[in-house]
Symmetry: T
Subunit: 68 residues, 12 copies
């Protein structure tokens, strides 16, 4: 039997929104296996002067827990 | 002291919405103890032809972590 | 002249989500007449072990108050 | 190339919430092919006396339009 | 007289979120004329390993129906 | 058997919010039959100087499709 | 001491949205005293042919209960 | 048999947000028995000069109606 | 280069909802130029006896700031 | 004639949620006159170790602009 | 590389809303390190007689997972 | 003492969503100093033919007002 769990995390990037989401998935892959889908909940950024210096993506990632 | 945590997961059933929620709780019980409540966030289904062949329930489950 | 009022209440059932809504309506019928419609706002449940032992449905019920 | 479209419709049943969703899918199948998923947006019902005499499910159904 | 209608559809891309929206519009243009605006409702993705292999954008597109 | 569908469209009027909704229904009646209900989702307007020169109403209209 | 309570009801009118809200307040005044404020939650209408034949306003009304 | 009802009211306090909620419950207790739970929907305040002179808490209170 | 800003304000009228929105725009025009669009966020009213004596419309107004 | 405007700002406090709201109002009073009401949109905090070291309250403040 | 995760939990207090949030953070600190921020999602309470005997705060806590 | 204010504005770009957000920040920097963070509220676009010819990002920008 398989269980689908959902975690929330924050992806971060200096280069853009797309990369922030990709990083969230890449980061999650270090501790989570069998990821299936990602939902983007919200986007934020940190500003320095007139530039966004850090992009952040709040995401939910679903993954499958194989039953032992 | 007791801590109440909340996790999100997806219950799945071939038979109906009610069973999808029951399965979410049953699935969660394999790794989580002391569950107290369940909140149903949303319902979806997968269609094949003119039938729903898989029902899914996104749920939040609260459980108590006994402090060691 | 007729007035349409809306009340919120919680239907409860040991057997399932559908019955929880039915009970909300049945319960309301003991004090309210001329009910017309029901809106289901949210579903929750109480867990004991690996089972849902009480299903709850938060509902809004609209009913008509006949003017005297 | 394939296009995924989404339509909203209302499933209706005299017997319960589950059947209302099933009917929405069955109804949609008369004019739409290649349906994939269903999202349940909200549940309502019509009351007569102390009973729900018609269950309704507002759903979104996604389907694939094969490009000619 | 002109009528403004709104449809919902899902844009898909292997390369990124931006392209998923562009594809939604390009896909819609095969069956719809006189499109005016697009609203992005939500973003999701499908994961394989540690990568997003499919980006999806749920969008609403408004278009003008010229009256005959 | 009857199927209840829901479409979204934008009603427009130079004279006011009420008329924008009425126009949405009137516009829809040119291509849709057996309309039953209308839900107003949001109101917007276009400004020129210190006046609203165009009122817009985003609406959802439900209608019945008679089965052939 | 004074208590502020809030009730929800539906105002109805054959003539327009504004009158539907006015009627909700007028209707409520038959059973409630010391009303203070009204919040409009949503607007709907019933359609016959290409016309809205009944306007409805879902409202919340706050009123003050003087303590005996 | 027991029926769980939900009412909405506004708690008021000159001293703070916490007391506004407590007052909502205390006020409700004058006309309602068997209250079980309170949900805080929103917080507002009235300002005079640079001070909040009245705190308000919009709350929903659930209570049990014992069947006669 | 042009910058589009958005402000929120409250339009007020003794006569009705439509006029409350118009007044919001008229009021804003005294300090803001180059207004383009208005979004109506919510409607409220103040009641005296069985009548609404003041209509209020919470609106967002977008306007263009010409760069010097 | 009077115009009611609404601004959004963040109140900050080292001591608690209530003081964060009070500070938002006190801060706003340095540049804004004739404030009337405050709406609390959301609460957040910054954590250091096992303590909240900064409380933040996102608020909307309405104020009256007297026409010259 | 650092990963920002988000968990949801319920803080509880007999004394008030502020302490319920503080307890959520204190509780979380027993199993989680490097917490950064807390978002308060909702407030509820349990009532006994005319008093709130338990305050609860649903919170999301973000924390940094140091990569090994 | 420092005050954190929040403004809403619309970033525009011919090239993509990311640039629309960057432009919102760049535009805001012409009249606002000490910007800290940006929240993306919603994305829209204007369509010509089968292409998005203008991307728009509705954003909230927080900035610090140094007290004189």
């Amino acid at each position: 039997m398989t269980i689908v769990k959902i975690i929330e995390l924050v992806g971060v990037s200096k280069n853009g929104l797309q990369e922030a989401v990709e990083n969230a998935v890449k980061d999650a892959s270090k501790t989570i296996r069998n990821m299936r889908g990602v939902d983007i909940l919200s986007w934020t950024g940190e500003i320095d002067g007139d530039k966004i210096v850090e992009y952040r993506a709040n995401v939910k990632i679903s993954f499958i827990v194989e039953e032992r």
